[in-house]
């Protein structure tokens, strides 16, 4: 009886350890799995040509990712430029100024915003943001009058709303972790609340705020469905935010149907996924390392 219990415990322990090892190696499996599949195209074409060529003609065997990479960068850039100041200001308000009740009430709402599926964001973008950009923004710029509204700006606005919750979430945590004493020290020296927030809380929390920004950025970088629906999907390097673009994620999602019938096409799309994965991994690892350091310092 006793032996059976001990044996069960041992077996369970080994099984759980095995699962933990497997679960934590998923990330490596993803890199290797995608690499093995994209090797076919990497062997036939130099990486620099794939990354910097603008000519995308899969039927002629030309796979230049440049327009798509530029599309992703533009959309992500617009989203971050809109979302970052809004989210930081909101996070400061919620952690420093807001009445406790307001904070309690807005937390579930922001969680809800984070939980809305991206395709619903996409539908909202098509119904609200696209017509708004078409009717109220584009007409003010003569060179893009007659724009359909499906453009980088629309994609950026939709994405911005999507990444606000994560930036707010991480940065309120950071602001709250700033010790009360140093705030009080600043206030007792005669600084106003805003000065304290600006010079003490924000400065102290700056690395964490940057980590929050990077996490939001990488979320925007990899977002697919919402962007796909509103950004226009034209494979040309854009030159203004009122032009359509074709981000990498949209490229992958849109061409699933044809990719198995054209040689190298599937390999090219999986290479695109690998590029996305590596870029996002890099961002995430940096951000998480910063956050871990902050957490250690607090304890």
């Amino acid at each position: 009886m006793e032996r059976k219990r001990v044996l069960k415990d041992r077996l369970a322990s080994k099984f759980m350890l095995l699962l933990s090892v497997v679960a934590s190696s998923i990330i490596f499996a993803m890199i290797i799995g995608l690499y093995l599949r994209s090797r076919t195209i990497l062997e036939t074409k130099p990486l620099s040509e794939l990354l910097f060529s603008t000519s995308w003609h899969p039927l002629q065997g030309q796979f230049g990712f440049s327009p798509f990479i530029m599309g992703t960068l533009w959309v992500t850039g617009v989203a971050v430029v809109i979302a970052f100041p809004l989210s930081i200001m909101a996070a400061m308000f919620l952690s420093e100024y807001a009445h406790k009740l307001v904070g309690e009430l807005s937390k579930p709402l922001i969680d809800l915003l984070a939980g809305i599926p991206s395709v619903v964001y996409g539908v909202w973008g098509v119904l609200v943001i696209v017509p708004f950009v078409r009717d109220y923004v584009a007409p003010h710029f003569p060179e893009s009058a007659g724009s359909s509204g499906y453009c980088i700006l629309s994609g950026g606005i939709v994405l911005a709303v999507m990444i606000c919750p994560i930036i707010i979430h991480v940065s309120t945590e950071i602001f709250r972790s700033v010790p009360l004493e140093i705030r009080e020290a600043s206030l007792s020296l005669g600084a106003t609340k805003w000065q304290t927030t600006k010079f003490v809380v924000l400065r102290k929390g700056l690395p964490g705020v940057i980590a929050a920004l990077v996490l939001g950025l990488s979320r925007a970088f990899g977002e697919t469905m919402a962007v796909l629906l509103v950004v226009g999907n034209v494979a040309k390097i854009p030159s203004s935010v009122l032009q359509p673009a074709y981000p990498l994620t949209a490229l992958i999602a849109n061409n699933y149907g044809e990719m198995l019938s054209v040689p190298l096409y599937d390999s090219a799309l999986l290479l695109a996924s690998l590029i996305l994965l590596l870029v996002v991994l890099f961002f995430n690892i940096v951000a998480q390392l910063v956050l871990i350091r902050i957490e250690k310092r607090i304890r």
């Binding site: 322990s13 699962l19 599926p117 395709v119 600006k198």
Partner: protein
């Protein structure tokens, strides 16, 4: 003095406006979906599968997608629980606290959490190529469970971590093995948190489109086997929105309303679950 006061007020106004803009984004999204979705809602939408010519504006509903999404999300959630729960118990009970391995596993989940869902789809697709699987319910379940695994594990880890050390020691002192402690004490103590984690992951799984586009495919019928393609709500919305017919696009809005309602119900349940199941919890 006055300048400082003015600056204070200006920035306070900016902060309140920013918070207002973000929250009104939420209100605007939900209002838009309700206003546009309700008129196109009818019983047929939720009780019928698409009939011939559905995507041209003829009769039918999206029962195929509702059932498909449910199968897929439930399957993925169960699979994900089977992996998350043992891993989380291992990290918090068997492994040495603060060991390198523990931090590594946590770190890998944090990093996985940020991987875009389309990449999970592409990776799921490479696995399927490897095993010779076609787009199927099984493929979708694998991709989605990979996607929600880090979300569920990290959320569970947060609560299991909070179980007081003394409680474990009391259980060991009574002669219980670690396994018995884990199953009878820790799970009971952390139950509300575990339910919350599962619900959050489920919500994420049912709403994700990019990971299933490669792996689960799409079909107009209700799947009867793990190896058949399966329709999902997000993709149903996507395809209906992509047709040039206004009637079909309106159905996409109605479908989006259904999906939003599902998400709302899930997130309200999260709130209730985290309050209600606290009966057995020792504080």
């Amino acid at each position: 003095m006055d300048r400082r006061k003015i600056e204070e007020n200006i920035f306070k106004a900016i902060m309140i406006t920013s918070t207002g803009i973000i929250l009104s984004g939420l209100v605007c999204i939900i209002a838009t979906i309700v206003v546009k979705g309700l008129p196109a809602m009818n019983i047929a939408m939720v009780t019928q599968t698409p009939k011939g010519g559905f995507y041209l504006g003829k009769e039918g509903g999206i029962l195929n997608a509702i059932v498909g999404s449910t199968y897929l999300a439930v399957g993925a959630t169960l699979l994900s629980i089977l992996i998350s729960l043992p891993v989380v118990l291992y990290l918090n009970i068997y492994a040495k606290r603060g060991s390198r391995f523990v931090s590594f596993v946590r770190f890998s989940f944090d990093v996985l959490w940020g991987v875009p869902s389309i990449v999970y789809g592409a990776f799921g697709f490479t696995i399927m190529l490897y095993f010779g699987l076609r787009t199927s319910l099984l493929g979708g379940i694998i991709a989605v469970s990979l996607l929600i695994l880090p979300i569920m594990s990290r959320a569970m880890d947060e609560v299991v971590r909070m179980v007081p050390e003394e409680l474990l020691e009391a259980s060991y002192a009574l002669g219980a093995s670690k396994l018995e402690t884990a199953l009878r004490v820790v799970i009971k103590q952390a139950f509300p948190g575990i339910v919350t984690a599962v619900l959050i992951a489920f919500g994420r799984g049912i709403g994700d489109a990019a990971s299933v586009i490669f792996t689960a495919g799409f079909t107009d019928s209700i799947p009867y086997s793990l190896f058949r393609p399966v329709a999902t709500l997000p993709l149903a919305i996507f395809y209906q929105l992509g047709t040039p017919f206004p009637e079909v696009q309106e159905r996409a809005y109605a479908s989006a309303l259904i999906l939003t309602l599902v998400i709302l119900i899930v997130s309200i349940s999260v709130r209730i679950a985290s309050r209600k199941f606290t009966r057995n919890v020792v504080k």
